[in-house]
């Protein structure tokens, strides 16, 4: 733990040094080679909720604004212009007006105008019934629920009209998940051959094989990007792709693909490789369908919460590097996390032996015991990062007389199945796109959200979520957020087991890549990255 902190401090110092000294002469040219872990479901960032789409295709697009790519911690105070050059709020903080960059063209030569911005956010907020050329999926509809309309004022100015003040609105606009789409290209084409304004043009995507992007010579940021092309190779088998990285076939691994046990291997076999550990803002959590008997009994859910040995998860899955916390990413990387003292008071934290004894007592009180176990299927996505914690969960539940069998669900079916609540107990991973309470709470804990897999619904919590969302004062907002996080933990809404910390590695010749430490989804524009010859 201590070492990790030191490493982070050192890393951020390095960051400062590179920022203050004049940059070493960047070299242009070269093809960046990256391996991909699987086939992206589509190229349309707005329609998907996975880093598999985000990491390769963010470089094709631009946002209106973006988290400062040179900062390691995404923060609402560090937002830089992209397609919007400046912005201002009205007096009651409900109208956001943005001036747009002029002279920007889409990859197909058409000019970028305010119409494209209006189109994009109209599609994101449209109701099902009015769909024309609509998105097939809209996983982040809740992000924009406070957005009432977007209006164009001429070709180079737009106004976002909000229902109430929402300071996090800028943070969501700055997320990697919020690119501006061209109005004149159909959503179907955006899924298969995306067109953007970004530093790289899409060339082709061969299913299960490769993705190729080439430099956009007309990019509005003069002198950028440095790379001639980015070549992605899809290698679904992890052992094969790590071997390929060690053999020098790739410049960069897929984001967070290197677990701590694998890190030792890379260190030993490819000692020159640069590896950086960072929290992914993806947490392992236990989901229990509150409508499925006997789990409709809050006592059983309480017992399960108490039976979780969080440290064991972290020790096994990431050699003790994962961090423990409530539902918001823990400090120091997490901006909104509750203080340590408060965290230790939460149920399921603190002394594990005592918790386990209490959990057993609850289960025995309900008539379960070594001779009468509760048999249950533990559903999880059929990929190792889900299956591995699932296996540990089954082992831990065994101690409170719950006998689990893993039910592996193939990736494409997983989301719909749990959203439909067609499961009893599940091991889930939740990636938080932006380290902001609105993003996390609205997506995962409000009664009506599609991604609220457990069916948790508490009107008091809902009110608090609403209250923090409109709070402009950051410190006041933090207090409310802690309160919500505490209530969620006490209600065993969706017990967070651990916040993952994983490694991303690259060859030393790759320069200018800055990994962000409170989200994996926002830093993949690749316009500052270059290769040393």
């Amino acid at each position: 733990m201590h070492n990790r902190r030191m490493a982070l401090v050192a890393a951020s110092l390095v960051g400062i040094v590179t920022l203050t000294t004049p940059a070493v002469a960047q070299q242009s040219g070269g093809t960046l080679r990256i391996y991909h872990r699987d086939m992206p479901p589509s190229a349309s960032i707005h329609e998907e909720a996975t880093i598999s789409t985000n990491m390769p295709f963010m470089a094709v697009f631009n946002n209106l604004v973006m988290f400062d790519p040179k900062e390691k911690i995404n923060s609402i105070d560090k937002i830089t212009p992209e397609l919007a050059t400046s912005w201002s709020w009205n007096a009651d903080n409900t109208k956001l007006t943005m001036k747009l960059r002029e002279g920007v063209t889409w990859h197909d030569g058409k000019p970028f105008t305010a119409k494209d911005v209006v189109c994009t956010w109209t599609k994101l907020t449209q109701e099902e019934s009015e769909k024309g050329d609509a998105f097939r999926k809209n996983p982040r509809r809740v992000w924009w629920q406070n957005l009432q309309s977007v209006t164009a004022n001429g070709d180079h100015e737009v106004t976002f009209n909000l229902g109430r003040p929402q300071p996090s609105f800028m943070a969501m606009l700055a997320a990697g998940y919020s690119p501006v789409y061209p109005c004149h290209v159909s959503t179907r084409d955006l899924r298969t051959k995306p067109i953007g304004t970004g530093p790289f043009k899409f060339v082709e995507m061969k299913r299960n094989e490769s993705i190729r992007l080439v430099k956009n010579p007309d990019y509005w940021r003069k002198g950028h990007p440095y790379l001639d092309a980015i070549d992605w190779r899809i290698i679904p088998n992890r052992s094969t792709r790590i071997l390929a990285f060690i053999a020098g076939d790739f410049d960069l691994t897929f984001d967070s693909d290197v677990t701590f046990p694998l890190l030792n291997d890379i260190k030993a076999q490819a000692p020159k490789a640069v590896c950086e550990a960072r929290p992914t803002n993806v947490n392992n959590n236990l989901i229990v369908n509150q409508e499925a008997p006997p789990f409709d009994n809050p006592k059983i859910r309480q017992a399960m919460l108490l039976a979780l040995d969080r440290k064991a998860f972290s020790d096994i899955l990431s050699h003790g590097h994962a961090v423990l916390g409530a539902s918001m990413l823990p400090a120091p990387e997490g901006v909104w996390s509750m203080p340590k003292e408060m965290l230790n008071e939460l149920p399921g934290f603190g002394d594990h032996t005592k918790n386990l004894a209490e959990a057993r007592k609850i289960m025995e009180g309900l008539g379960y015991g070594p001779d009468k176990t509760l048999k249950v299927k533990v559903s999880t996505r059929n990929i190792p990062i889900y299956r591995d914690p699932g296996v540990i969960l089954i082992d831990q539940l065994k101690k409170i007389y719950i006998e689990g069998e893993l039910e592996p669900i193939d990736t494409p079916v997983w989301h719909a199945k749990v959203a439909r609540k067609d499961y009893t107990v599940g091991m889930n991973l939740t990636g938080v796109g932006v380290d902001d309470p609105d993003v996390n709470f609205y997506e995962n804990f409000t009664c009506k959200s599609e991604r609220n897999y457990t069916g948790y619904c508490n009107p008091d919590v809902e009110k608090l979520i609403e209250a923090q969302s409109r709070e402009i004062d950051k410190e006041k907002r933090k207090k409310v957020v802690w309160e919500i996080d505490r209530k969620l933990a006490e209600d065993a809404a969706r017990p967070v087991i651990s916040h993952n910390v994983e490694n991303t590695c690259w060859q030393p010749r790759l320069k200018g890549l800055i990994l962000q430490h409170n989200s994996i989804y926002n830093g993949w524009r690749f316009d500052d990255v270059w290769l040393e010859k």
Binding site: L262, A268, K311, D395, G404
Partner: protein, 297 residues
């Protein structure tokens, strides 16, 4: 094809022996590879049956302290990424492999026998239709068939067995049919018919027992391929799910990642699969030599 009188065969081969031990001793000398195969198969079956006694740990118990422990005095074959004992998992994995191989073969044989007997004995249009169906089923490789089945039925132990069993049916049915066809015309069947025995009874009492020799040879050969198919399915993530310790999944991606840092995770389950299949194949070869005189060497 006919049944074999072993004592007569032994005498003919010049083995003046009597008694069970003597016979066994002769068979070992006559078929050394088969005997080796039998030993491997017996060890494999014993490990599966006595898994609870033989295993030194609970095969599903995770332990953070022992993640990736190399082989040693506590963990004989090392521990996996989750600190689970590889030896215990291999021993318990034998159960899964045994269940799948025996279950699928038995199920496949049962279905194959019924279909084959019907086809061969009834003949006519039944035969024609059944043969065409078998043609269709044989047009797909075992793994492809099992893959599609496993995907549409969902991964579980039961479904894996069913998927592999269905894929085995055509082979069995073909063999049973061809022996039935030749047996149907044999004098003893004619005789039985003359005494007024019902056709069903003739089929079951007189024809079926005489098809046993080729059936045993074939079934033993299928055991090995059932084990391999299950391993391949599990390797592809479509086989028997966790926490059951299946050999194929022990080799799948999560283990293979540690192929250099923890080679024992890849080497030992691989050896277990290879040995079990090797053993059944050796035994199958020897049985074929014994029961099928045409192949006699």
């Amino acid at each position: 094809m006919s049944t074999i009188d072993h004592d007569a065969e032994l005498l003919r081969a010049g083995a003046h022996v009597r008694g069970a031990w003597g016979t066994a001793g002769f068979l070992i000398r006559r078929y050394p590879l088969g005997a080796a195969g039998a030993v491997i198969v017996i060890v494999f079956v014993l490990a599966a049956l006595l898994a609870n006694v033989v295993a030194t740990f609970d095969p599903t118990a995770t332990s953070s302290r022992n993640s990736l422990t190399p082989p040693g005095s506590v963990y004989w074959l090392g521990a996996d990424f989750m600190g689970r004992d590889v030896f215990s998992r291999i021993v318990h994995g034998a159960r899964i492999s045994l269940a799948v191989s025996v279950g699928a073969t038995a199920l496949g044989c049962a279905a194959g026998i019924i279909v084959g007997l019907m086809s061969g004995y009834l003949g006519g249009w039944v035969d024609l239709v059944v043969q065409r169906i078998m043609d269709i089923m044989q047009a797909l490789p075992l793994l492809v068939m099992a893959l599609v089945m496993a995907a549409s039925l969902g991964p579980s132990l039961q479904n894996t067995i069913i998927a592999i069993a269905i894929a085995l049916v055509p082979n069995i049915a073909r063999v049973i049919r061809s022996s039935t066809l030749s047996l149907r015309e044999q004098p003893f069947v004619e005789a039985a018919r003359a005494t007024g025995m019902s056709e069903l009874r003739i089929a079951v009492r007189h024809v079926l027992p005489n098809t046993l020799a080729p059936l045993i040879v074939l079934a033993t050969a299928q055991l090995g391929s059932a084990i391999l198919t299950e391993a391949s399915l599990s390797f592809l993530g479509l086989g028997v799910p966790e926490p059951h310790p299946s050999w194929g999944r022990m080799l799948s991606e999560s283990a293979a990642e540690y192929i250099r840092t923890a080679p024992w995770l890849v080497i030992f389950p691989g050896i277990a699969i290879s040995l079990a299949v090797f053993g059944t194949n050796l035994l199958g070869d020897a049985l074929r030599d014994m029961l099928d005189p045409r192949e006699r060497t």
